[in-house]
Symmetry: C2
Subunit: 366 residues, 2 copies
């Protein structure tokens, strides 16, 4: 079989150019006589790889020196603990720190639960009762001016919900898990205190997390008992080389950054991603068989969930799609239906192939 | 340049057969139309990869069902916290748990320091005053029968010191960091409560940790505040798929396990590793220029540190060796000199090439 159209929510499709480069470099990276996987993380060769990756990321996303870029391990799930451990400030009277969580899906809810281990994690709003099909408006948020931070999962992968604009948190730092929308469009890092994400959706292989953190939020006085490896200062002081970093993941991220630059940068990706998403949503909105599940203004341009309303028909669709080379289109086990994740590396042909297949399926199952 | 002889202490040399397979599979793993890096961790294809990896590891190392095998993230350094968080048992009177640490190098010392965050981490013995050039004998150990565990770093990568036999800890579980001797020879897992290691030395790329844990030590009542991702039960209950695991790393580990089986298993690797180490130590012991630094009975067969006694000459050796295709031979920055790491994937020709080069250097610098 040739390459398929892979709509997986993550780990997900990567640019073919990047995979070809990785295969070419496998036994002998740039004439150094070894694979990137075999390199000491303290070697000159790997030093160049990680420095270039950081420089390219800073350049394509416009990240100033007042923010640190960290390459971490442990998945976004480890950051669910790291965020409160690093940011919750115990008060003089012995009270714990406080944070406001805006919950728009399963990942935000998990992060909120973890934060309760370390302090007062307050729900500023939640759309759980509505099945996470929209994002709360600013006037629905119950935010405290003395919170240590406000937390969002900017794009909820499972439900396909994205903040159309960031909440206004005043002077309270905004912390965002951007795993499933990382580098899908330009962003203004100065609106965030902390932005982090697992790279396995839009940027690289599973096992690497990138965190971009405003320097004043990298502190020594973390919550007592914080493991050394979850304290951001540990890796910030060591330029992500406190211990052996996930070298292969960082190398692939670096290749993807160069690929993004070669495509024309984040503005060009935004244009392409919006076009791909519009093609799919426009089809869904006129279909009499398939239905998009999310409120129009809050729809993700990365993860597009849809249903027929009939679980058997959904299963038939997923199965026939696979035979047609359209794979990993099944919805998350917690919501059912279908979900097409159309990350940066999904070409427009892939989306068009999906729509053609849906049209055919709709005709045959009307 | 062709492939070099890479004596890096880790990340380190991998079998060429494994690298070739990884390159071949890169764009289309076994006809599934995608790279392993692009696979959903919940897909059938990846399910087979992780199940086969675990089954092969269990088979080649003789690991019974009473032990769980976990594939984790965060490096061995994260386990420095996970070990006390999972094993220290707070006492009824409110006292913290207690553990005994036998410190034979920098890694054991780091683990001991981290454990102090969570309880009474007692030093049962330390060879720091002797520059970590030997392992303490059984009668030097101050072990407590009511400790929650006894901790060792079985092979200290930096100093090249290995426990010639495991300490007798009675009924107290032994916890061993085996990062730099993992699968270098047969072992009896039933002598350990917990064995864990970063895979980036003998088994795979950086970013994956394998932990083999006796089931009764996987508990729900961990130290309060333990992050969900550091609680072993989280991943044990989910067969290492609680969150997205380091899929690429697990895939490469799986290929290495198959390579080990094809070589003849751990007994054959032990024979080869002992032969390689003997060649190098025998040369060192008769050399009038180079000197091994570790007591004979405690020498590692994986990491072989040596010095000339003259820092300038050491530097000249490292530099000329590199020109001769013998790379990453410099000692750790904390000890200087040289260190040859001769892991499973280092062929005997590599060790012979190193010795020939040392002989030539010795003649030229006598």
């Amino acid at each position: 079989m040739g390459r398929v159209y892979n709509f997986s929510a993550g780990p997900a499709v990567l640019p073919e150019d990047v995979l070809r480069q990785a295969a070419t470099d496998m036994l002998d990276y740039q004439g150094c006589g070894m694979s990137v996987m075999e390199m000491s993380h303290r070697s000159k060769e790997f030093g160049r790889i990680i420095e270039e990756a950081e420089a390219d990321l800073r350049s394509l996303a416009g990240i100033p020196d007042t923010y640190k870029v960290l390459f971490l391990q442990g998945g976004a799930s480890s950051q669910f603990a790291a965020v409160p451990l690093n940011l919750m400030k115990p008060k003089a009277d012995g009270a714990t720190g406080r944070a406001d969580y805006i919950i728009t899906g399963s990942w935000g809810k998990k992060a909120w639960k973890e934060a309760q281990l370390y302090g007062d994690a307050h729900v500023a709003a939640s759309t759980e009762q509505e099945g996470y099909t929209r994002v709360p408006k600013q006037d629905e948020l119950s935010l405290s001016p003395d919170a240590d931070y406000v937390y969002i999962c900017e794009n909820e992968t499972i439900y396909g919900v994205k903040f159309p604009e960031l909440p206004d948190t005043g002077s309270v730092p905004l912390v965002a898990d951007v795993s499933s929308c990382f580098l899908s469009e330009p962003f203004d890092i100065e609106k965030y205190g902390v932005m982090y994400g697992g790279v396995q959706k839009n940027i690289g292989p599973a096992g690497t997390v990138i965190a971009i953190i405003r320097e004043d939020l990298i502190r020594d006085d973390v919550v007592p008992g914080c493991p050394t490896m979850l304290k951001w200062k540990t890796q910030a002081d060591a330029n992500s080389l406190y211990n052996t970093p996930p070298t292969w993941g960082i190398y692939i991220c670096g290749l993807v950054f160069k690929w993004i630059i070669a495509q024309g940068g984040l503005s060009e990706l935004q244009t392409r991603n919006r076009r791909k998403a519009a093609l799919l949503y426009d089809y869904l909105d006129q279909s009499s068989l398939f239905k998009a599940t999310v409120a129009k203004e809050d729809r993700s341009i990365m993860n597009v969930p849809f249903v027929t309303g009939d679980a058997d028909l959904d299963a038939k669709f997923v199965s026939q799609a696979k035979e047609a080379g359209i794979v990993n289109i099944k919805g998350h086990r917690s919501v059912g239906g279908m979900r097409a994740s159309i990350y940066n590396a999904m070409p427009e042909e892939g989306v068009r192939a999906l729509i053609s297949f849906m049209e055919k399926f709709e005709r045959e199952n009307a």
